[in-house]
Symmetry: C2
Subunit: 189 residues, 2 copies
Amino acid sequence: MTTPRGPGQRAGLSRDAVLGAARLLLAEDGLERLTMRAIADALGVAPNALYSHVASKSAMVDDLLDGVLAAVAAPSGDDPATSLREVMASTYDVLIAHADLVPVYLARQGSRGPNAQRLGVIMNDLLGRAGLEGTAVGEARRVLIVYAIGFAAFSTPGGTDPAAVGVEPARANFDRGLGWLVDGIIGAD
Amino acid sequence: MTTPRGPGQRAGLSRDAVLGAARLLLAEDGLERLTMRAIADALGVAPNALYSHVASKSAMVDDLLDGVLAAVAAPSGDDPATSLREVMASTYDVLIAHADLVPVYLARQGSRGPNAQRLGVIMNDLLGRAGLEGTAVGEARRVLIVYAIGFAAFSTPGGTDPAAVGVEPARANFDRGLGWLVDGIIGAD
DNA sequence: ACCTGAACACCGTTCAAGT
DNA sequence: ACCTGAACACCGTTCAAGT
């Protein structure tokens, strides 16, 4: 019922509005339905109007990925091993809450955005306080990140997981493997 | 220069020919260029001709995924822990050799094909011989599978890996984390 | 600067033919 | 049964406008 816009008439769009619509669409319809045209539709604009606010779909998805990581809680306690388990478990929970994004995350080998960097610094600090030095820090960090994202990818509720036949809930399983890794990392120093 | 075919004239296509062309295209041009139309082009047929031999692109990719796993070597020795490390390392190597497929693998939560099943049986046997029982078997299996595929996803040569800054080669890193996991799995029984 | 209309170069897939 | 031509319902993105 609204009067259609002609060329040059503002729609009140913004970068945040585009990202918000994208997040909503992703949560409701999943990754396959996340198209520039669907986002534009949800915002009531022409598809190409989005390109005034985001450089490309790929760049937009990158921002979506890093934005998710903002919800990862920084650990609070003193013990590095406990904190390490906490931050990885929080990462896992956040990823699980955005299951559709996880394969994309893997495909792009993680994020390089501000939130990913923040988590990297936190992990480096914890690993250092746990006694690791030099290349061992990056090595352990990679193992932990790989494990958290990899496990999240295999814990999405939708799919029937071949590796999960007759297995306890994924979260308990995740914690168990995480414990093995953290013990190995700290013991192996 | 070849005489163009009309409708009804055979092109000598087969299911294996289609899969072979798909594999070649994937190895040469990567996943993004793996389109039904490109495969048809490589085979010199119309795009829809492929649908006489494969049900859909998705089913074809599933077959591609499982086919890759045929190259995973079955372990030979007697010690279950060593065999476990061997079969996971072989899986990792095979996945690395097909880096483009790894994110797809994650997105589909593994394969349910014959090769994936064969590996599952091998792992169950090894874990059983290592002393695991009941739910612990599936649990440990999932952790190992997740770790191998997840690590492979983060080890593709192309991308700049944020978790890999100042880190030793991926294979040595993989072996190290794998050792922690196998030790934890067997020690935790 | 922000938006539209139209277009370009693609996709996977289906359907009605032809042999 | 196997293949083609044509078409359908999509994609992301660009370019030349208009205000």
